[in-house]
């Protein structure tokens, strides 16, 4: 099991403090900058490893950054704190984005990112809770995160804990039936302490979601299963923040975050081939320059 990096964790704490002390413009700038730094980190990880899911990583990074740097009640130095909020990355193939985020928050040293996907690295191509602090359950096969998160939300309620469970789902992943079993359970049990975030970039591995197996109207589907639904721009950090922290009603909340696969790198944006294509050294330089703007 990797261990926390106290210096980075302290910096993360300062970031969280400054965020809560700041007005909207500064908040937006802070999260935008942080997310783009993680994008650059992730591109280099993928370049070094020669593998990864770059399109989805770029798509989900604003969601992950907003959660870890402004919303989640977690402590990188106490990853087992019983009353922490739970975060589950159901789309486990975007592990690179999660690792970049967790390292930036101090859950483990950033130097560890250099080992991503290397022999015997703790940082497998899909996240492993036994090795990586901040990972709550092992994901990778799709359609697993929501049922486990429902169990976590049921547990929080049984324990009379105010902790909240956030789970990030890929949109293509919603073609797996297990999600709808769990969505039904969450609606039936009025799990107000559960928020599912759909990274709605409209692309899956091989094609557009709507050309493969139609998901729309996704909001109506979740509503029909007993959920409240919020739809936001998944790259607008403050809109995400508001959706994640809005007062909850009597039902679980689904945040449909409209995103662009490959976001932030012009030649990757909304292009299906960048699902798991590996950028060349030159492309990483060009992409990093775009992200530094």
């Amino acid at each position: 099991m990797l261990v926390a990096d106290p210096g980075t964790a302290a910096a993360w704490r300062r970031f969280r403090q400054e965020f809560s002390d700041s007005g909207p413009e500064r908040r937006r700038e802070m999260l935008r900058e942080r997310a783009n730094q993680s994008r650059t980190t992730d591109l280099h990880m993928i370049g070094r490893a020669g593998l990864g899911h770059v399109g989805g990583d770029m798509s989900v990074l604003d969601i992950l950054t907003t959660l870890f740097f402004s919303v989640l009640r977690v402590d990188p130095e106490k990853p087992d704190w019983a009353d922490r909020d739970r975060f589950v990355l159901s789309k486990g193939h975007t592990a690179g984005a999660l690792y970049a985020t967790l390292a930036a928050a101090g859950f483990f040293p950033t130097a560890e990112l250099d080992t991503f996907a290397g022999p015997l690295s703790a940082l497998n191509g899909h996240p492993n809770r036994v090795k990586v602090p901040g990972v709550e359950t092992n994901t990778g096969p799709l359609g697993h995160g929501l049922p486990v998160s429902v169990g976590m939300a049921v547990a929080a309620r049984l324990s009379s804990s105010s902790r909240h469970v956030y789970v990030v789902l890929g949109d293509g992943e919603l073609q797996e039936g297990s999600n709808w079993e769990a969505a039904m359970t969450a609606g039936h049990r009025h799990l107000t302490n559960l928020t599912a975030v759909v990274d709605r970039n409209r692309l899956q591995q091989g094609a557009r979601t709507e050309e493969t197996n139609t998901l729309d109207p996704l909001d109506d589907k979740f509503r029909a299963f007993g959920w409240d639904v919020l739809e936001v721009d998944g790259h607008d950090h403050l809109a995400l923040y508001d959706a994640f922290t809005a007062p909850r009603g009597e039902r679980p909340t689904c945040v449909i975050a409209n995103t662009t696969k490959g976001r932030g790198v012009s030649f990757m944006e909304d292009r299906v081939e960048w699902h798991h294509k590996v950028p060349s050294a030159e492309q990483i330089v060009a992409a990093s320059a775009e992200l530094a703007r």
């Binding site: 019983a82 092992n138 049922p147 429902v150």
Partner: protein, 320 residues
């Protein structure tokens, strides 16, 4: 008239012992919860539900969800007993068992109710004879098959304390008491009858039949050892090696496919030793069952005491 009939021992549905012990544990430890798939009745959870309505999570007919929810509870400090008919629990939710339970090391107790061919006439869709093969292949998952009510109780208590990903096969087909209240010892075979010619390694419903077979073989001058192998994975390899040294052959008997269950596990030990012994593997050989009661099907597939005795005698009479 007819010959005097030996007294028929009383037989028991292990689900009753399972449910009583689970409720008893729940009274002692509030971390104990039950998760089921519309199987409150068939998993004998009616009493549990009455006593602990909040701690019985019935997700409806949704096994993938059921196992995932169990994992979420386990990862939050609860001790979930996830109960469903074994064919659906293991077949429908196999990937959840692999990823959410075993690989994630979430201490869920998977309770495969009415396993084997307990649902006789309902047919192969409702039989769970593949479970041992499937689950034995998964790293880090304990596979436990209690032989009678006492051992079922003891195994339930072990599972609650062990905090390990585990699968318990909880029998519905009635069996006599055979373990004599010896507590379940995880990972250890128990010798229910010693013998020097042949060893029968049995699990679950086959244990009482193996004991009957040994008694009958003794009348024919063959001394049969009976091992109750209630932990299929990890296997008590030492007990197998001892049997190889002290007896001349091994018969395995299981209400499951022989493809990867108890027989295959024992064989893997036997063939990798310097001096293997002859074996007979009783079970179901990659076949779907025809229509019939459980008792009929056990006979159909050669899983009676007479079949076990015959296999043991054949090995006893094999020249080493």
């Amino acid at each position: 008239m007819s010959a005097p009939v030996a007294s028929v021992p009383e037989t028991f549905d292990c689900r009753v012992a399972f449910a009583e012990e689970l409720s008893a544990l729940a009274r002692e430890d509030e971390r104990i919860v039950a998760v089921c798939n519309d199987s409150v009745g068939s998993s004998n959870l009616v009493q549990f539900q009455k006593e602990f309505p909040d701690r019985l999570i019935n997700v409806g007919i949704a096994e993938q969800d059921m196992v995932g929810v169990g994992a979420g509870l386990a990862l939050s400090g609860y001790i979930p007993f996830v109960c469903g008919a074994s064919p659906f629990l293991t077949g429908r939710a196999l990937e959840q068992i692999k990823a959410d339970v075993a690989y994630s090391q979430s201490p869920v107790v998977l309770c495969g109710m009415s396993p084997g061919m307990a649902y006789g006439e309902l047919g192969p869709t409702h039989h769970s004879i593949e479970d041992l093969s499937w689950l034995r292949a998964i790293a880090g998952l304990d596979v436990v098959v209690p032989a009678d009510p006492a051992e079922t109780r003891s195994a339930v208590r072990w599972a609650a304390n062990a905090a390990r990903p585990a699968f318990l096969r909880v029998g519905r087909f009635k069996v006599p008491a055979v373990t004599g209240n010896r507590p379940f010892t995880f990972g250890a075979a128990t010798t229910l009858r010693d013998g020097s010619d042949v060893t029968v390694v049995a699990a679950g419903t086959m244990v009482s039949r193996a004991l009957d077979a040994a008694a009958e073989a003794a009348e024919q001058g063959v001394s049969v050892r009976v091992l109750n192998m209630s932990t299929i994975a990890p296997l008590d390899e030492d007990a197998i090696r001892l049997a190889m040294r002290e007896t001349r052959g091994i018969v395995t008997a299981e209400e499951a496919t022989t493809t990867g269950g108890l027989g295959a596990a024992v064989a893997a030990v036997v063939v990798t030793e310097r001096t293997p012994v002859p074996m007979r593997m009783l079970g179901i050989h990659r076949e779907f069952a025809p229509t019939g009661t459980t008792a009929f099907l056990l006979e159909h597939f050669g899983l009676t005491a007479a079949d076990i005795r015959q296999a043991a005698l054949a090995l006893a009479h094999t020249d080493a």
